[in-house]
Structures are given as structure tokens and as C-alpha cells.
């Protein structure tokens, strides 16, 4: 359900970006989601479609890139890929992971095909 809260926040940012760059329409939105983030891509798509209605991003292609998790063990410095249910180090067995990637929720870029109009104040 929190995908809708996230979509709200995202669409709000897209409105601001459209206004700032004078873009009547946003054609493509690229989002990065860490694989350990509790965000389900299909539900995120649905939430975006619902939330973006009536905004410049209404018909935008919505691209989600999942980012692989990476961690380093604080005890023995082994690098590994944790899963949602297991953060234990494959070498020493202790779950004391310094996360390096996998929790991101990043608006990476937007694209617009039309020429920008004068920026809306």
C-alpha cells in the first residue's frame, strides 16, 4: 500500500521538475529501486498510473530499474549480496552488514520530447 504514498511523492517532484524546465508533458520517467526495498514494481507501476492522472506525467513511460543489493561484513570485510531474509555473511556467518546498495528509491531521470516552453513561475 505504501507504493501509493511513494507515487504521491514522486508525482509531486515530477510536477515541480516540469514547471522548472517548462515542460508541458513528461514522456519518460526512470526510477531506481533497490531490491531490498519493500517496493513491488508491479504495484509501483499501478500506483504511478493512478497518481499521475491529470499531471504532465500522465502518459509517461514509467521505467523501473531494480538495483542489486550489496553489503560488506563489518566483522570480516567480506563483500556479499544479502537477501530480504538473510543478511548473514557467507564467510563468518554473522549478520552485521554495512549496506552499500539495495535500499535506494531514486528518481533518476526524466525525458521530454517537446521543446521546453517558458518556465512556469
Amino acid at each position: 500500500m505504501h507504493e501509493f504514498s511513494i507515487a504521491d511523492s514522486l508525482v509531486e517532484q515530477l510536477r515541480d521538475i516540469a514547471a522548472e524546465h517548462g515542460l508541458p508533458v513528461i514522456d519518460r520517467v526512470e526510477l531506481e529501486i533497490g531490491e531490498l526495498r519493500q517496493v513491488i514494481p508491479d504495484i509501483m507501476q499501478l500506483a504511478f498510473r493512478e497518481t499521475a492522472r491529470g499531471t504532465p506525467a500522465e502518459d509517461a513511460e514509467f521505467v523501473i530499474e531494480e538495483i542489486e543489493a550489496r553489503a560488506e561484513c563489518r566483522r570480516c570485510q567480506t563483500a556479499f549480496r544479502p537477501t530480504t531474509w538473510d543478511y548473514s555473511c557467507p564467510d563468518c556467518g554473522v549478520a552485521d552488514a554495512q549496506m552499500l546498495a539495495g535500499n535506494a528509491l531514486i528518481l533518476k531521470s526524466i525525458e521530454a520530447n517537446q521543446t521546453p516552453q517558458a518556465a512556469i513561475a
Binding site: 504514498s5 511523492s9 514522486l10 531474509w85 535506494a104 528518481l107 531521470s109 521546453p116
Partner: protein, 228 residues
Amino acid sequence: MKVNVVRNVLQANDLVAGECRNQFRDADTLAVNLISAPGSGKTTLLEKTLPALSPAESIVIVGDLETTRDADRLEPVAHEVVQINTGLSCHLYANQIAQSLGELPLDASEFLFIENVGNMVCPGEFDLGENLKVILYSVPEGDDKVAKYPTIFRVADLVLLTKADLLDALDFDLEHVRQDIARLNANVPVLEFSAKTGQGMDEWLAWLHARREEGLAQEARFVTEPLG
């Protein structure tokens, strides 16, 4: 035209959470976010904890979809309570905390407890500026919940195993649960607690006081992953 944005999607929430965290630091108040499934005993925990923390003053922000029942229960024991009704939202947002702080005597309070909406998933995704996340996990929920809802246990600073007086009656496999939690985070303590018998109360209070004395209220503990 392409615009490279590279911005945290929840930036608006995180900015407000950061402002809340600054307020907690300035007021020297320890902010504790209580997260659990509905019915695990968050309000009962507070009913027992707040009088026991006295003379230290505690304030409470409590979130539920509807009703003021929790606030009504906590009014007699808290310095002040604010009830937030979230309607359909399954978690609290930082701006709800920021608004509530305007109605609360933060400077005069040693502890702020935020009783989140009962939910084991969504509250973990939204920073409220709290210093600590305490997860309540009640024995009647069964011993498979860490495996089923792992993420919230991963970010916990403490797991309170509530209704621990029912451990034997319900054949709850505590060792199995401890192993599941240790696989997610070796550093999180698990405390058996019963509001009914008082089991674990002294350790819980000692833990709270210790965190405050460590000056966690002075620290920004929430670390977001670097962008990119």
C-alpha cells in the same frame, strides 16, 4: 530533452523528518517509534511504561486509521497525547509528526513515543525523525513472523517479544525466532516482555534510560544510502 535528476523519491518526507530530528536534539528528547502488527500491545506497553518512567515526562503521538481510543487510554498517564487519524493511510508521515510537535511540550519532555499505525510493512519505509525503532512482536502472532516480515526486524533497534507469559501455552519456538532475527541483524537485542506479569519491564526501562544517557537524542542516526 533528458533531465538527470538523481533525487530520493521520499526526499520531501526525509527533509521534514530531519527537521523533526533536529527538534528532538534541541529539546534533548529521545524519540522512539513503536512499530508492530495491530493488537501486539503498543498501547498497553505505554500504559505500563509511562508511569514507570516518572518523574521523567513522556509525550505520545499515536496513529490509527480511526478513533481516539488509544489517546483516551493514554491521556491519564502521558504528559500530553496527540492522536492522528490517518484515514486510509497505513503508516505515519513525517509531516504528521512535525504538525503534532506544535501541540506538544517537547522541551519539557524526556521521552517521545510515536505509536505508529499497526502494520509490519509500511511504517518501516517512512522516516519520522525518530532516534530509535522498537518493534513489538507478540507471542500469539506465531513464531514464523520474522521470516514472513523480515525487513522491519532488520531495521529494529530493539525487539520486544510481548505477551511472553503465553510462550509455553502457545508452544512458541523462541530459539527459532532468535535465529531468524540473528540472521537479519546480529546486533538487535530481543527482550521477553509481559505487561501482565511485569516480566522484562525493568530491562526495558533500563534500556530506554541507557539510550537516553548515551545521548542518542543528540545524534542523527538515520543514514540514507548514498545516491547513485
